[in-house]
Amino acid sequence: MPRDGVFDESGKAYAEEGQVMLDGPDGVAISMTPDAAEETANELIRAASEARQQIDDRESGASGS
């Protein structure tokens, strides 16, 4: 279930006729070329790492105050 519009469920990806389809979560339903899908995957992994760091920084800041 989304919390404040942020989903904790992943979308599902499929390949069909040379296209990569990403379905969900929620209203996401897009098709990409394989190159665009790989770049998007890399971008997501990079952004996820950055977001985790932000959570860690916030929590360490809270515990230090």
Binding site: E16, E17, Q19, M21, D23, P25, D26, G27, A29, S31
Partner: protein, 236 residues
Amino acid sequence: MIFADFLRNRRREQLSDQDLAALEASVSQVRKTHARQLLAHAGEPIACSTYLMEGFICRYMDDRNGLRQLVAVHVPGDFVDLHGYPLGRLDHDVATLSASKIAMVPHEALDGLLAQRPNLTKLLWFSTLLDAAMHREWIFRLGRLDAVARIAHFFCEIEAKLRAVGLSDGSRFALPLTQADLGEACGMTSVHINRMLRELRERELLQVQRGRVTISDLAALRRLCDYDPSYLFIGG
């Protein structure tokens, strides 16, 4: 009768014989069109509104790359662009999806109807408000539903609308739309639509073959996409 399906199974009973006769008399022309024919272009002044008697018509917008988003699909009994009467121009294109039969109602004639027939005016207003309700539902569909639910939702809506005018028996109806059309309505590629149609078929919910739709389990299809047809005001 030209307006045999207008508001059928909605508020048709509120349309008096006199109102109906005045509406029929307001038509300047009835004509047949080919499939895929442009009827009105965004931005151009319009002097008539189009009532759909037979066939399917869409409203659409193209992005800067020419990629199309359908913003409405009309079935017989619908006024396609009644909102163009007070607006004076459309903010979208209008084209036929199939061979169609349409009636043209000049805006000058609508001026007379509005001046003389308050009950008919209210029902025409109701008709444009139905369009607005459908637009809200389409926003929900595109913003909140995943791929398979989006297309299920589209079929649920079309089925309900066609059933209201006697063109669906609740499980079977003609729908001469291509997978590209469905993609443009649901914001997906035709390949994506193809896969989702396969999924609906494998779940034994729905099949599309040669322009005919067969819904095997309407209740399950509606559950899949949280479909509630109350926004169509059918039957009340």
